[in-house]
């Protein structure tokens, strides 16, 4: 589990606004559904997502049980320096997933 699909440019011009799109494979079990045995299924959702660009926070997102499975997020950032983009998802039961992408700015 926890496979991701990240669309981020590998290069950009300085000062250009880049679009970043992330899709995470996650069931986002809301905690309100009942299973086949009639018991409530335990909540298992991603609660936070953040993206840092060379250590600086670009976006921080809080997610709630109403968000559908496999959450997709799209946001933008200003390309200022070459470096790394750090994507982090955190959730219930100690879930954590981290991905990195490098970008070269000219």
């Amino acid at each position: 589990m926890a496979r991701t699909l990240i669309t981020a440019p590998s290069s950009a011009r300085r000062g250009e606004a880049i679009t970043l799109r992330v899709l995470l494979q996650h069931p986002m079990e809301s905690g309100f559904r009942v299973g086949a045995d009639g018991r409530l299924l335990a909540r298992d959702i991603v609660r936070r997502f953040s993206c840092s660009y060379n250590g600086e926070r670009v976006v921080a997102v809080e997610l709630f049980p109403a968000v559908a499975a496999n959450p997709y997020l799209e946001f933008s950032a200003l390309a200022l320096d070459s470096g790394t983009l750090d994507f982090v998802w955190e959730g219930d039961h100690g879930f954590q997933h981290r991905e990195q992408r490098t970008i070269s700015v000219t």
Binding site: R3, L5, P27, A69, N70
Partner: protein, 255 residues
């Protein structure tokens, strides 16, 4: 560059799929809302691509005692699996019966791993199926002209037109007689299996054609056949023949 050309071809194929065929057959894609269509068109947005990626990883991963992988025999799926999904279900000479893509993959895996894939929508089987089907995206469905398939396909045709369940409805009652109209606010598509396995928003997950057929059967309050029962394959054979020439969209998104 080649990947780029392939992507362009796939886009052209998807655009082509959005046009109804001259005989009036239309993919389920055309019955969807604009936002769901956009979700399918864009691979960065289509959650089905997550399973394709998983299948790609499983393709070359060694399994079993001898450490064989799919790639070990079949090489690069991009070449060897191109067009394969468009031909299934097909006749299996060793088993002397028709099998669908799922069963074909499972039979192959069984040779590698004695603990075969479980029946039903088992995640790894689904991922491999999605990866193999993805290689045929944009290609027309071409059911094999194999006379050995004929009796099963004919049984599938009868099943499609047979009234079932407490609601006493046949597949054809909704998907032929009333196709294009609405059922509980949702459009009734023509039931062409052009995009399986599909990412269905209702399921919040990828699922097989068999899973989709099961939910139709329980929808008319009939008891679904067991997983992998011959009836499903017969129905799939008829549906593939009915959709012959239509373009594959796997992994499709459906509401």
């Amino acid at each position: 560059m080649r990947a780029c050309a392939a992507a362009l071809m796939a886009l052209a194929a998807l655009a082509a799929a959005a046009q109804p065929l001259p005989d009036g057959r239309r993919s389920g894609f055309e019955f969807m809302g604009e936002s769901t269509q956009a979700m399918q068109r864009d691979d960065a947005l289509n959650p089905g691509m997550l399973w394709v990626l998983e299948g790609e990883a499983a393709w070359s991963q060694p399994v079993g005692a001898e450490g064989h992988s799919c790639a070990g025999c079949h090489g690069a799926a991009r070449q060897s699996m191109r067009g394969v999904a468009a031909r299934y279900p097909a006749f299996d000479a060793a088993l002397q019966r028709p099998v669908d893509l799922r069963q074909r993959i499972a039979n192959c895996r069984r040779k590698l791993q004695p603990q075969a894939l479980a029946p039903g929508d088992e995640p790894q089987a689904l991922a491999l199926e999605a990866y193999v089907a993805f290689q045929s995206r944009g290609l027309p469905i071409t059911p094999p002209a194999d006379p050995r398939l004929e009796p099963a396909r004919e049984r599938g045709r009868r099943l499609f037109h047979q009234r079932l369940g407490q609601l006493d409805l046949a597949c054809s009652d909704c998907h032929e007689t009333h196709a294009g109209r609405r059922l509980g606010g949702s459009p009734i598509p023509q039931a062409h299996p052009t995009g399986y396995p599909i990412y269905r928003l209702e399921w919040q997950s990828l699922g097989s054609l068999q899973r989709r057929l099961r939910s139709c059967l329980s929808g008319v309050r009939a008891e679904p056949f067991a997983w992998g029962a011959p009836e499903w394959i017969e129905l799939e054979l008829f549906l593939a023949w009915r959709a012959r020439g239509m373009l594959l969209e796997s992994p499709a998104v459906r509401p």
